[in-house]
Symmetry: C2
Subunit: 416 residues, 2 copies
C-alpha cells in the first residue's frame, strides 16, 4: 500500500544536482513583488532565483524577446508560435549559462522567496481527459461494480470533457470545501451540505500556444507546433457531488469549484530526453489516432503526491495509455478551434501499482479502505486543513533532470 | 406532426406593430461597416436600423454611457453591473423614443442591411443545461429504451455540463459538418468519417455580466444582479459522435465543433411582462433551488425553428422545468466563480406537443421517423446546404412585444 513509499525519493537527482530547476528546465511564470503588487511580469526560474525576463532582455538589447516577454501574462509569448518559442528559449539558455552575460543579467534576478507567483496564463478553454487505463479501470470497478470496468469506447478514443476555465487557479490558492447535493444509495432523497468526499486528482496539463484556423485538424505529428508547454494540475473533485450529478452529461459541480495548476510552465522542448514509447495498444486505432509508426509521445514524468508533506503515491506518467499527441488530434478532429491559452489535462495519472494511484478514490477504494499516513493518521477523503502537493520531474539530456515543480493547495472549511 | 404548423405565425405581432425590434426591445450587438471592417462598435437595434451607440452618446454629452459603450465588445458594459445597465437602457429609451432627441440622434443610425454583425461579447465559460422535461424524457426514451426515461437526479437538480467557449460563433457563421468516430450497435468497430446525424438544438442563452467573488453563491433572488441579457442559441450536435463518446464523462466532440448565438443580446429587464410561473414541481426541492415562494422566473418566450425557411417546430420556453434563476443558483452553489461573459444555455427547448420538439433527434425519433417539410422533402437529420433558423419573441408590456430575433446557420459539407 502507498504508506510504504520512501519519503523524499522524488527529490533525489539522478545527475547529482541537488537544486531543482537547473538550466535544462528554464520554465516561465508570472510574478509580482511586494513593492509593486499590481505589476505582473514574466519570470524565468533558475534554481531558487527568478529572472525579470523582459527587463533583462531589454538590457541586453534583445528587443524582440523583450516585446514577447513584457506582459502580465504568458499569452503573447504563447501566441507567438514555435519558432519564436525556440528562439526565446535559446536566448535565455545563452544568457543564463554563458558567463559572458553574467554581469549584464545579474541585476535582474530576484530571490524566489521574494516574489508572489500568479496564474501564468489566461485560460481559454479547459479540457480534462481520462487517459490512464489504470485509473479508468479502477473508477469503473468502484462506480459500476459487476459491469465492464472500461466502457466500450475507452480504447478507441481518448475520452475527455470540458471543465470550467474560470475555476483554474494557481498553486497555493486555498481550496474551499464545496457545498452541493449528494445522495447515497440508502438516502431517500438528496441531501445538501459540504462535500464529505473531497479528493485530489494528480494530472499533467498541456498549454496551447498556437491557435488553429476554423476547421483545422492537428495531426499526430504537429503537437510541437501547437503545444507550448507542460504544467502540473490538481483537478480537485467532490466525489459525492460528482456521483449524484454525472449521469448522463458528465461531471459538473463536482469539479468546477477549483482546479489548481503549477506556477511554472515548462517548455515542451525541455522534455526531449523524456519521450518514451506509450503502452502497447490492445485494439486497432483509427488512422488519425494511430501512432504506431510515428515518433513516440509517451513522457517519462515521475509524479509524487503528498498529503501534509507525506508522500502517498508515485504515479508514473509514462504508463498513460493516450499521449498528448493523441489527445490533441482527437480534440481537434471535429474542427474545434484551438485558442491561445487552451489548457488540456491528462486526467488522473495512475499506474498499475498500489502505490501509483493518483487520487484517493482509487487509493482508498472510495473511502472504504482508508489510507494510513506515515504520521499514523488515516484518510478516507481529505479533511479540512489538509495540504495536497503534487510534484514531478523528468529525465533530461545527459543524465540531467527537468523539473515541473509542484502544485499545492490546502483545504479550507466550507463557508456557510 | 410539425409539418402542419402555419408558416409565419411567429411573425404576427399581437400589438399590431408589424416591424420587430420595436422600442420595447432595444438589444445590444456589435457591428462593423464595409468602409471600416476592423472597427467593431456597439450597436443598438430599433426596427431595421442600428444606432452607433457610443458615438450617439458622445454627441449627446453622455460621457459615462459613451465610455461603457465605446468598445469592440459588450464586455465592459456587461461588467458595469445592474445599476449601470438600467441607466444606459433608460437613457437609450429616452433618446430613441423622445422626439426632442430625434435630430441629435439621427446622424448615428445605420441601415441594418449595411452592417456586419459580430459575436457581441467575449465568451468566458459556456455551460449548457438540460432543463426541458419533455426533451430529457424523449432523449432518455431514445437512448436508453426500457429504462427510466429521466435519470434519478433529473428533478432534483438542473443537470448541466461545460461546453467549448471557443466554439461559440455568431449567427450566420457557416457550420462545417464535423468528422469523428461513430459506432452503431451492429458495427464491429468504430468508423471514421463525417457525421451522418447532424442536428440542431433550439435553446435560450443567458449572458452573465456581474462576476462573483470567490466562493460567492448566487441565490434565487439575485439573478437580476448577475444576468445581463438573453439570446438565442443553436447548440449544434452530431448525434452519432455524441452517442459513441458520451459515456461516462458526457458530450464532447459531438458538441464542440460549433455553437451559434444570435447577434442581439436583449436586456433581461425587457422581459418583465413575459415572466410566468414555471411548471409545477413534482418533488420537493432543496432550499437553494426551491422557488415556490419567490417571484416567478419562467419566461414566456415563443420559439420557432425553420429548416430552409420552413417552420418545423414551435417550442414554448414557458414549459421549461428549471428556470434561469435555478440554473444560476445551481451553477454557483459549489462556489464556482462567475466571470463577465459567461454564457449559460437552457438546453433544448421542447414542449409536450409533437410540434414543440426543439431538435431533430426528438422530431424524427433519431432519424427513424423522418420529417416531411412543406416543400415535400424529408429529413432524418440535416443535409449539407440546409439552413436552420431559430427565432423567438415574447409578450412585452401593454400588449407589445420583445424580440430575440434569430440565430441562423447553414451546413457546409465536411472538409476532407
Amino acid at each position: 500500500m502507498p504508506t510504504d513509499i520512501p519519503q523524499g525519493a522524488a527529490e533525489r537527482n539522478p545527475a547529482g544536482h541537488d537544486s531543482p530547476f537547473g538550466p535544462l528546465t528554464l520554465p516561465y511564470g508570472v510574478f509580482s513583488t511586494a513593492d509593486a503588487p499590481d505589476l505582473r511580469r514574466v519570470g524565468v526560474r533558475l534554481h531558487d532565483r527568478v529572472l525579470d525576463a523582459s527587463a533583462a532582455a531589454r538590457a541586453l538589447g534583445a528587443d524582440a524577446e523583450a516585446a514577447l516577454l513584457g506582459h502580465p501574462t504568458l499569452n503573447p509569448l504563447l501566441a507567438a508560435g514555435r519558432p519564436a518559442w525556440d528562439l526565446v528559449r535559446d536566448r535565455l539558455t545563452e544568457w543564463l549559462t554563458d558567463d559572458r552575460h553574467h554581469d549584464a543579467i545579474e541585476p535582474f534576478w530576484l530571490p524566489l522567496a521574494d516574489v508572489t507567483l500568479h496564474l501564468p496564463f489566461e485560460v481559454a478553454d479547459y479540457v480534462d481527459f481520462y487517459a490512464s487505463e489504470h485509473h479508468a479501470t479502477r473508477v469503473g470497478e468502484i462506480f459500476r461494480p459487476g459491469g465492464a470496468a472500461l466502457t466500450p469506447n475507452w480504447k478507441h478514443l481518448p475520452i475527455g470533457y470540458h471543465g470550467r476555465a474560470g475555476s483554474v487557479v494557481v498553486s497555493g490558492t486555498e481550496v474551499v470545501r464545496p457545498f452541493g447535493q449528494r445522495k447515497g444509495p440508502d438516502d431517500p432523497a438528496p441531501v445538501y451540505g459540504p462535500s464529505v468526499r473531497l479528493d485530489y486528482e494528480a494530472e499533467v496539463g498541456f498549454v496551447v500556444g498556437t491557435p488553429t484556423a476554423a476547421g483545422e485538424r492537428v495531426g499526430l505529428d504537429a503537437v510541437e507546433d501547437h503545444v507550448f508547454g507542460v504544467c502540473l494540475v490538481n483537478d480537485w473533485s467532490a466525489r459525492d457531488i460528482q456521483a449524484w450529478e454525472y449521469v448522463p452529461l458528465g461531471p459538473f459541480l463536482g469539479k468546477s469549484f477549483a482546479t489548481s495548476v503549477s506556477p511554472w510552465i515548462v517548455p515542451l522542448q525541455a522534455f526531449s530526453a523524456a519521450r518514451v514509447a506509450p503502452p502497447a495498444r490492445d485494439v486497432a486505432l483509427l488512422p488519425y489516432l494511430d501512432d504506431a509508426k510515428l515518433p513516440e509521445w509517451g513522457l517519462d514524468l515521475r509524479l509524487d503526491v503528498a498529503i501534509n508533506g507525506q508522500v502517498v503515491a508515485r504515479p508514473p506518467f509514462s504508463r498513460m495509455y493516450w499521449t498528448v499527441a493523441q489527445q490533441l488530434a482527437h480534440l481537434t478532429v471535429n474542427g474545434a478551434v484551438l485558442r491561445t491559452g487552451d489548457l488540456f489535462a491528462s486526467g488522473t495519472v495512475s499506474g498499475p501499482g498500489d502505490d501509483q494511484r493518483g487520487c484517493l478514490l482509487e487509493s482508498t477504494w472510495n473511502g472504504r479502505e482508508p489510507l494510513t499516513l506515515p504520521d499514523g493518521s488515516t484518510r478516507g477523503y481529505l479533511e479540512d486543513g489538509d495540504e495536497v502537493t503534487i510534484r514531478a520531474w523528468a529525465p533530461g539530456p545527459d543524465g540531467g533532470r527537468v523539473d515541473l515543480g509542484a502544485v499545492t493547495g490546502r483545504i479550507a472549511p466550507a463557508a456557510g
